[in-house]
Symmetry: C2
Subunit: 226 residues, 2 copies
């Protein structure tokens, strides 16, 4: 992946400035890319006929763009290239259990990307973007499965959102009330970690016997997904 064209520091604009919880913000583009590479689902926020909608969808990122796709008939995709959207990728890493309810929270890594998406019309970029998106969720599948034909490509809209204008927030570690007056309460405090893992592949019941899951799928069982 070529991350060289975008500056290593994220821009501080009115949108992405960390007004609160400054300690949770990051201006490192490397951290943005790490968060994006660790996942494959995001939430797309877009105004459709004046109503904000938040749609879960899959994505691929190559350091320059975040690619997302859907049916050419999808309302949220049709609306996207004409309006400023926000795409958010979040990994929830743990419950922060403090001495006081007020200090309870979540350990997480989150990236928010702002901009007006571009409808990808160039045939070569469209194929590369779909490959990026497929490989992000399921490395090895682009070459293993049947690639999209002309009719399928025509039925699919691919959109690219530049990673230029992005914001990163991360929280890690113990609760914040370990050195305050509540520390004397004798209450247990700490973190209950959360992990998302792949299970063992479940074959389609329609699959004929004797077709084993290939290594690029079977090898992910019990591995971390975020």
């Amino acid at each position: 992946m070529n991350h060289s064209e975008l500056p290593p520091t994220l821009p501080q604009t009115d949108l992405t400035r960390h007004r609160r919880l400054r300690e949770q913000g990051s201006l490192e583009r490397a951290e943005l890319n790490a968060i994006l590479e660790a996942g494959f689902t995001c939430h797309l926020g877009v105004a459709v006929d004046g109503q904000t909608t938040v749609v879960p969808t899959v994505y691929g990122s190559d350091g320059q763009n975040l690619y997302f796709h859907g049916s050419v008939a999808s309302r949220s995709l049709v609306a996207s290239p004409h309006t400023r959207v926000c795409i958010t990728v979040t990994h929830v890493d743990g419950l922060v259990l403090a001495r006081s309810v007020f200090e309870h929270g979540v350990n997480y890594r989150s990236a928010m990307i702002y901009g007006i998406p571009r409808l990808v019309t160039d045939a070569e970029e469209k194929l590369a973007g779909l490959r990026c998106l497929t490989e992000q969720a399921a490395p090895g599948q682009w070459d293993y499965a049947r690639q999209p034909n002309r009719k399928e490509l025509a039925a699919t809209s691919l959109l690219a959102l530049s990673l230029e204008n992005a914001s990163v927030k991360v929280r890690t570690g113990a609760p914040d009330d370990g050195d305050g007056p509540d520390a004397a309460l004798g209450t247990w405090a700490g973190v209950l970690p959360l992990t998302t893992t792949f299970g063992r592949p479940e074959a389609d019941p329609a699959l004929p016997e004797g077709i084993a899951a290939p290594a690029h799928i079977a090898g992910r069982a019990h591995s971390r997904a975020n």
Copy 2:
């Protein structure tokens, strides 16, 4: 929980009608409640100064309302009671690996709730809402940890979004191309399941020795979080 006041069938409005993928929609309020009860983080979509933003946050649901909260200074929370927001809760259950790239997808359960949130000003409802929210993430913590004092309550905005206008989408099961021409390719197809689980509690390093995690926390280790 009292689910009795809202009708058992979700409304079909212009917003929530399932235009595409009809087979993935559900109009059962029970299914909405099950999806909400299975999680504790959501994505709040709200227009802030005309820009759509999507913010991850925690929530609690009691069958009537989805409660979410934050600092009284939070821009997304300040904007929320004046505009139509969308809150989406998504559980990703597996990767759908089909014979063709085009049929690849995700098994998921997702709820989208639309409306104008209400700032909770009644002291009793505010406490009940914060309790609901805390207990949804960490059952047992409201009574175990120190409850919010007057100053902390004043620093916290609690918002309630009615569950009246909601949309549910669910995908389960094998890929859809098991009975098409691609089934003859001999390609493995199926689902790679995804599960989110709690790990063992990690004590705050600032905690004095001899304070064990209580059963309502320690007992969640290795249990499913969604």
